[in-house]
């Protein structure tokens, strides 16, 4: 029962998100807007209920199966993949390494910088 209630809440927040996206012509998808709305609701309420915790843990835990149906559609792009496999492979590998390195370094440098700043203030 907990799962059904939490699942219903998630669907309602998604629906609300979709409505707001249409209404304000926002550049994001309905579910992403749903995250914002649910986060605001949780901040107002001050806690996550048992039902929402239950539903979110289950859904997030099995997120990977939900990618499968659309990704199988890669089949339909067989020709594109065959033609551009080199560019795609180099891009995925190169860009992933660049991001891992730059974000990890940036995070440790900025953290150190702002930590020093706070010490000076004190």
């Amino acid at each position: 029962m907990d799962f059904i209630l939490g699942f219903t809440l998630l669907l309602l927040f998604q629906l609300l998100g979709e409505i707001i996206v249409i209404f304000f012509e926002l550049p994001v998808s309905g579910p992403v807007m749903g995250i914002v709305l649910l986060l605001i609701a949780l901040l107002i309420k001050g806690s996550v209920g048992k039902s929402l915790n239950n539903a979110s843990t289950t859904l997030i835990g099995h997120l990977s199966i939900m990618f499968v149906p659309v990704s199988v559609g890669l089949m339909a792009h067989y020709e594109l993949l065959m033609n551009e496999w080199l560019a795609i492979t180099v891009t995925l590998l190169g860009s992933t390494i660049i991001m891992l390195v730059s974000t990890a370094l940036l995070m440790s440098i900025t953290s150190r910088f702002f930590a020093k700043e706070t010490k000076h203030d004190v």
């Binding site: 309905g30 199966i65 890669l74 995925l92 991001m99 990890a104 900025t110």
Partner: protein, 243 residues
């Protein structure tokens, strides 16, 4: 009805019923999860990759078309919406950590959207990928459901973006920890955040195996990257006159 007629009636049912698409997907996933657990959670055996290979093989062998498969697959696909909304809950649990490291997180976050999407488009362009492929590659570092939404918005190929985002997740999960030790970043908060920004869900799964702190920061990075990319990427691409 003769036996042969019965057989062909059954075959038509199998090809056209939504039951087939749902069953193939769920069976592939159960098998993939079993292998993943058996392998002690090796990122290369991520359930997504295994399930996809199994489903594609079944469709190729049986000759069931993608359209017929998706008649059932769309019910599982539908769950992506509520599952994405559910990301608000881990994000809520991490809010106090965002406050602690607010400025470093914000700076790194915005920079990572620039670095991630521009490096992808740049490298793809350099190696002669078509414009459509370049656009489909741009949201590769956000969690797959969000990448699909963004791709739709900016005119990419939705299923291509989904597959590329998922592959990026696997890739970062496999090489992430090695890269961090190579460049000497040892703090689990920074390693986790970088992992989540780059490799979303699968990176986060790997991060949680390292430590709870790394997992929490990876989840935080994943959730924040989804928002920031969704808001920034369409603007960034129109600024560059790509779309």
């Amino acid at each position: 009805m003769t036996f042969d007629e019965k057989l062909s009636a059954v075959w038509i049912l199998i090809q056209e019923s939504p039951l087939t698409g749902i069953s193939i997907t769920l069976l592939a996933y159960v098998l993939a999860m079993y292998l993943y657990k058996k392998s002690d959670y090796k990122p290369i055996l991520s359930p997504f990759i295994t399930s996809m290979i199994v489903v594609v093989s079944v469709l190729l062998i049986t000759g069931i078309s993608y359209e017929n498969y998706f008649a059932g697959g769309k019910f599982i696909h539908f769950l992506l919406g509520p599952a994405t909304v559910a990301l608000a809950i881990p994000l809520y649990h991490q809010l106090h950590r965002i406050k602690q490291l607010f400025f470093p997180i914000m700076i790194t976050l915005v920079a990572s959207v620039f670095i991630g999407s521009l490096s992808a488009i740049g490298i793809a362009d350099l190696f002669g990928a078509s414009l459509e492929t370049q656009i489909s590659l741009a949201p590769k570092s956000v969690t797959t459901p969000v990448a699909m939404g963004i791709s739709e918005q900016i005119g990419g190929i939705v299923s291509l973006s989904a597959g590329l985002a998922a592959t990026t997740g696997v890739l970062g999960g496999v090489i992430g920890l090695k890269i961090f030790s190579l460049i000497g970043v040892t703090d689990d908060r920074y390693r986790g955040f970088a992992m989540g920004l780059t490799s979303h869900g699968l990176g986060t799964a790997v991060a949680f195996q390292e430590s709870n702190t790394m997992g929490a920061f990876s989840g935080l990075g994943m959730a924040l990257a989804s928002f920031t990319t969704a808001f920034m990427l369409p603007w960034l691409l129109s600024l560059l006159a790509i779309i």
